[in-house]
Symmetry: C2
Subunit: 344 residues, 2 copies
């Protein structure tokens, strides 16, 4: 704790302002928090002093006295996927406008990590927490319940009873993909899924594919279903594995766009024509996918909307106490050029 730099970080306090403006500290506090209940001239005088002295309020003291930090925590798997980054960007923007600051922590898809992060956020006194999906550790749920902190989940499908969820139906979206493929005549369908353990979104996407397969009386070939981490490289590798099978799938559904792009790249590298030889689908609709050639058929996940809605709901709740309602947004299939009729 030896540190000459942190001496008197922000020496000037509300008392200094009060003294300089010749008023009581309560009045200063009031003009800062509820200007309308302070007479205009005292208020003006105070604000002038505030600016002159470059006063910066102590959030810590404020939080301690008021039990509010004007801070919201988000616990996300990673920032390395544009889908989360975009979502956070919007989430932050809305929060920021309402004067909240965003605390971000990353779990790297590890639930225990998530629990620890949640604990830390709670210590920091966040007024609300944003979580991804519904798959959380018992301890996390216990913490949420005990702390009674305002919590919202996004990206998830189910209307979990535990915390309100502003998401979309991952499973249904997957089924839409299968339906589309089936309508093109595909029968032997494979999948490059994300790791489903501890990830309800990945699991729902996979389940959706399997159930839609069965609904269409198509056989589900476990050997054509690979689970792998989200990266271009893993997508490429998985594609190679699938396409290396004696009986190749005519269509490959990918758990997200990153995986799909990996598959596309690998196909391209081997001169495999898409969609003539294999159809490929993604999931997320990353901005770049529409520019690819062929443009990726994918699910348009409402990531920005979820970020915005979640932030709005949180701000609303924090301001008025209005309960947050779960809500399912649209996630539509975008048919582009990586899927096509099966060739006989």
């Amino acid at each position: 704790m030896v540190d000459e730099t942190k001496v008197v970080e922000n020496p000037i306090t509300i008392e200094d302002i009060a003294r300089a403006a010749d008023v009581g500290i309560a009045t200063v506090s009031r003009t800062l928090n509820h200007p309308e209940i302070v007479r205009k001239d005292t208020r003006d005088k105070i604000m002038q002093v505030v600016h002159e002295l470059g006063y910066i309020r102590s959030g810590a003291a404020r939080a301690l006295a008021s039990k509010q930090t004007f801070t919201v925590g988000a616990i996300i798997p990673t920032l390395n996927n544009a889908i989360f980054a975009a979502c956070m960007e919007n989430f932050e923007r809305v929060l920021s406008r309402a004067n909240y600051t965003l605390l971000i922590t990353v779990t790297n898809f590890d639930r225990d990590q998530e629990t620890m992060q949640l604990h830390k956020l709670l210590e920091r006194g966040v007024d609300a927490v944003l979580l991804i999906g519904l798959d959380h550790s018992k301890k996390s749920f216990a913490l949420l319940e005990k702390s009674k902190v305002c919590a919202v989940s996004i990206f998830g499908s189910r209307q979990s009873g535990k915390i309100p969820c502003i998401g979309f139906d991952n499973r249904k979206a997957s089924e839409t993909i299968v339906q589309h493929l089936v309508s093109l005549g595909h029968k032997r369908i494979g999948m490059i899924a994300g790791i489903t353990r501890g990830n309800d979104r990945a699991r729902d996407r996979k389940k959706g594919v399997i159930s839609a397969l069965e609904k269409n009386n198509l056989v589900y070939h476990p050997s054509l279903f690979i689970e792998t981490r989200y990266s271009h490289e893993h997508g490429r590798q998985a594609f190679q594995t699938l396409y290396g099978q004696k009986i190749k799938p005519s269509a490959i559904i990918c758990g997200n766009d990153v995986l799909a792009m990996g598959a596309l790249f690998e196909a391209d590298a081997h001169g495999i024509r898409i969609p003539d030889q294999v159809s490929i689908t993604g999931f997320d609709n990353l901005p770049i996918t529409e520019h690819l050639k062929p443009a990726l058929t994918t699910i348009d996940v409402p990531s920005a909307a979820m970020g915005v809605r979640a932030a709005e709901a949180i701000v609303q709740k924090l301001k008025t106490g209005e309960k947050i309602k779960s809500r399912l947004l649209e996630a539509n299939l975008l048919i582009r050029n990586t899927t096509g009729p099966i060739k006989v």
Copy 2:
């Protein structure tokens, strides 16, 4: 402030622990902060109670009493560019391991916005601040100076005297690109630059190109230099503009990879062969660029390294008071397949 939900957020306090463990509150505080100076059995007893009661420390009270929040703020232009997202991911990881939490705010390349965000972070009592580049408002610098908060800048080139900078030489990197192009015989070189106003990185990259052009006795055609926002769409558009000129450039240098990809997409859409008809270069080395076909020639910006180094330096400084040294990291040219010899 009417809100039945925020009643008794975390009712249990250090006093409850002290009482339940039959010790003084100071001892509880000690076992939580400096366990080594507490006798093992009292410590154990206390920790047991802590876990039993699910005690969560009040960061606000801690901060108020100790003048430390264990919180670091980052002010970045956007999360929508993978280069920043990746950098933040690494920054957060290192901070998190040292028990710091990351506060992220986004400016959307607006300096006034940045100043406001900085002010907010300072109110929140961040122990340190991360900034992008060296181009900040006077007010921002004043705030930094006055608050004496630990600040670090990344992505910048210059060894600014104001705040330590862990970056790389944007200008030199640009010159390398020109050099490469010149060695391939290119003479008529254009550029799709980012908006340089309020953005020293974009400015340095552009300056580097211009000065290298002059060094090589090539003429700088202002009409071949476009400044535009960072997006695929703007890249495409700018490419179209440049390639629509009566005398087309034989090489186009892009201010970042997003712009370069836009150019690539647009060229592709018009059947313009890269690099046969035009050479194109990027800047950043986004993960996807190596998978593109043709793979993008670009500058390998050490974004992850900057995130890690900055976080390490901050943690070090906060722990030991050790001053943060500015440092320039390597940013090398990656010659891939979007650049080739000029055809006569």
